[in-house]
């Protein structure tokens, strides 16, 4: 894993823990856990995450990209953000 993806992962984890799980316990959030299945994310939560990612990483999320493969776990989000950043 590159240092760049490490930074993305840390920021994404921090945001989810603080704003959606209201927790500081890192062990509560596995990088491959489904956020929908865990009940962490719902329809307004995903909009919050998108606004955060756009602001934080200077990316633009298209409506057609609002899919589980891009957002349903920390790993998916890290992969998605890295891909968009690479494409800039």
């Amino acid at each position: 894993m590159s240092s760049e993806t490490n930074v993305i992962e840390a920021k994404v984890r921090g945001y989810i823990l603080e704003n959606l799980m209201f927790s500081s316990d890192e062990s509560e959030l596995a990088n491959d856990a489904s956020l929908l299945e865990r009940g962490v994310i719902d329809s307004t939560g995903v909009l919050e995450i998108i606004l955060f990612l756009e602001g934080e990483f200077g990316i633009e999320v298209k409506a057609s990209e609002m899919l589980p493969e891009n957002f349903d776990s920390v790993n998916n989000m890290v992969r998605f953000v890295s891909r968009l950043q690479g494409a800039r």
């Binding site: 603080e18 799980m21 209201f22 927790s23 929908l36 299945e37 009940g39 994310i41 719902d42 329809s43 307004t44 939560g45 995903v46 909009l47 999320v61 298209k62 409506a63 057609s64 990209e65 609002m66 899919l67 589980p68 957002f71 349903d72």
Partner: protein, 524 residues
């Protein structure tokens, strides 16, 4: 085919599965996978046989604590085919409340899914009277839990018919109440079949429709999408939620959805996605809204997304499923109205002293019709507040406790609620329930919960919190504790820490004074 029109909810399924025209038709598309009417009946009959095999009898309660999924749909019809009464528990529900509902309803059998085990396992030890637990997904080991897959296996027996009549209970539909604990609304086959028929009539639905459901089946608005679909012999496109809009849109296009039921929060999200990237669903011919008012401005912007759809504004409450609808053609001539009584029912307004309210004046809405509930399960006291004697001997009329105006043509205009229930994301939230959960948090001395206007949510939940002396809790810590007790939509978005709360002369916390202290833009 059945020799008579369906009188019981599951008779529609029996008729569809028996007829050559519908038997192999897709009843539901779930997670992109199609399931036929005959598959639905086959699985439901096997599960029904298992319910009977566990000793369940006519009228016993079966709780279904699952996401919108194929096992959930099968479970609903299995409970009906077994002659039992189903109750759907929102999968966001946490342990304590799940336990309350299982106890309150006297549930005999729990149908659930492995991914919810963190919440349901702790409950199993203390709930008495459960004959069995059946779980879809990965079955937790060591708790004597049966696997859903093995119960509906091809080799499992099919249930024999049960002597259900239309006056039997079909469902308990739990809804938030102002007292804090949820109440089970008792609905019979007769009242639900009536409501299904009335809704189908005014929504102008037929068997060619493909009805989307992104609302939880535990919410009666979601449940009726399924019941209407099966009654029509149509197709339901069932999604777990609206969390990943692009996935929902792809399914809508692939399966050519014609009916889009939503609540204002969903429409607000749809409009926000539309701003990023224009959306257009030309194949959708009906869009429906209920649970909270859809602003006329939003409705007109929705026309860009759904250029060929009739847009219905509706109003209802679980106690009678649906009260009123506005014919889409009248949207412009009756702005702000939620329309008139649904077909086969009537509504009228009464003043506080029980007299008919003159045209244009505010009164309490009363509803008369076969769709009115039988009452609240085990709560004759609360039933009596809502069900009043009607015109005919033995008849009961629903007093909604909601304030309305009616114009000279009989069209209704919502004025306000007479309780302090909060409507957020289309869900009813009892402030008392949230307050009770928060008062159980160590360090919180007092709390008052109110609804404040919010563009996306309808109302946001705001909690005013007084901490014990020397205690320090951040709003994040408070919300973290809330989420272990409350469904996500009940967790306050706003926490205001304060040193005291305003009181009435009798010493009760005054929410009126709290609301008056707020800046005007925050007031409801």
């Amino acid at each position: 085919m059945n020799p008579h029109p369906a009188r019981l909810l599951h008779e529609s399924l029996l008729a569809a599965a028996a007829g050559p025209a519908l038997s192999h038709k897709t009843a539901a598309v779930i997670d992109g996978e199609s399931h036929s009417y005959c598959d639905l009946l086959d699985s439901a009959l096997r599960l029904a046989a298992s319910l009977r095999g566990h000793g369940l009898k006519r009228g016993d309660r079966v709780a279904i604590y699952m996401d919108n999924s194929w096992p959930c749909v099968v479970s609903i019809y299995a409970a009906l085919l077994a002659g039992t009464v189903f109750l759907l528990v929102n999968p966001q529900t946490k342990s304590d409340k799940l336990g309350f509902i299982l106890d309150d309803s006297g549930t005999k059998l729990l149908l659930t899914d492995g991914h919810l085990s963190k919440e349901f396992l702790p409950v199993l030890a203390r709930v008495t009277g459960l004959a069995a637990v059946i779980s879809s997904g990965s079955v937790p080991a060591g708790h004597n839990i049966l696997s859903f897959g093995s119960v509906i296996d091809d080799t499992a027996p099919l249930a024999e018919p049960v002597a259900t009549i239309p006056l039997d209970l079909a469902a308990l539909i739990y809804t938030s109440g102002s007292t804090g604990n949820p109440k089970g609304v008792m609905q019979t086959h007769q009242s639900m079949m009536f409501a299904v028929g009335s809704l189908i009539e005014y929504l102008r639905l037929d068997h060619d429709d493909r009805i989307l459901c992104i609302l939880p089946l535990a919410f009666d608005y979601g449940l009726y999408q399924l019941l209407m679909t099966v009654d029509l012999g149509a197709t339901l496109v069932l999604e777990r939620s609206f969390t990943y809009p692009a996935q929902v849109f792809a399914r809508m296009r692939k399966f050519e959805v014609t009916v889009f039921p939503g609540v204002p929060t969903i429409f607000a999200m749809l409009l926000s996605v539309h701003q990023r990237e224009p959306l257009c669903f030309a194949g959708v011919t009906r869009v429906t809204n209920t649970a909270a008012a859809l602003a006329d401005a939003s409705a007109s912007r929705l026309r860009d997304i759904f250029p060929n759809a009739l847009i219905y504004k509706m109003y209802g409450l679980t106690e009678c499923k649906r009260v009123s609808y506005l014919e889409p053609e009248l949207a412009e001539s009756k702005p702000g109205s939620v329309g008139k009584a649904i077909p086969g029912t009537e509504v009228y307004l009464l003043s506080a002293d029980g007299r008919p309210t003159p045209v244009g004046e505010i009164g309490t809405l009363h509803v008369r019709g076969p769709h009115v509930m039988l009452g609240y399960w085990n709560r004759p006291d609360l039933s009596e507040q809502m069900l009043h004697p009607g015109k005919l001997p033995g008849e009961r009329v629903l007093c909604t406790q909601d304030q309305f105006r009616m114009d000279a043509d009989g069209y209704l205009y919502f004025v306000g609620r007479s309780d302090d229930i909060i409507k957020t994301r289309g869900e009813k939230v009892s402030p008392v329930e949230v307050e009770n959960a928060m008062l159980a948090i160590a360090g919180i001395r007092e709390v008052a919960v109110v609804g404040v206007p919010d563009a996306l949510l309808g109302q946001a939940i705001r909690a005013y919190v007084v901490l014990e002396p020397e205690m320090s809790l951040s709003s994040g810590q408070i919300r973290a504790r809330c989420i272990t007790q409350l469904e996500n939509f009940m967790v306050p978005q706003q926490i205001v820490l304060c040193t005291d709360l305003p009181r009435t002369t009798t010493g009760k916390i005054s929410k009126k004074a709290l609301l008056e202290q707020m800046p005007p833009e925050d007031r409801t």
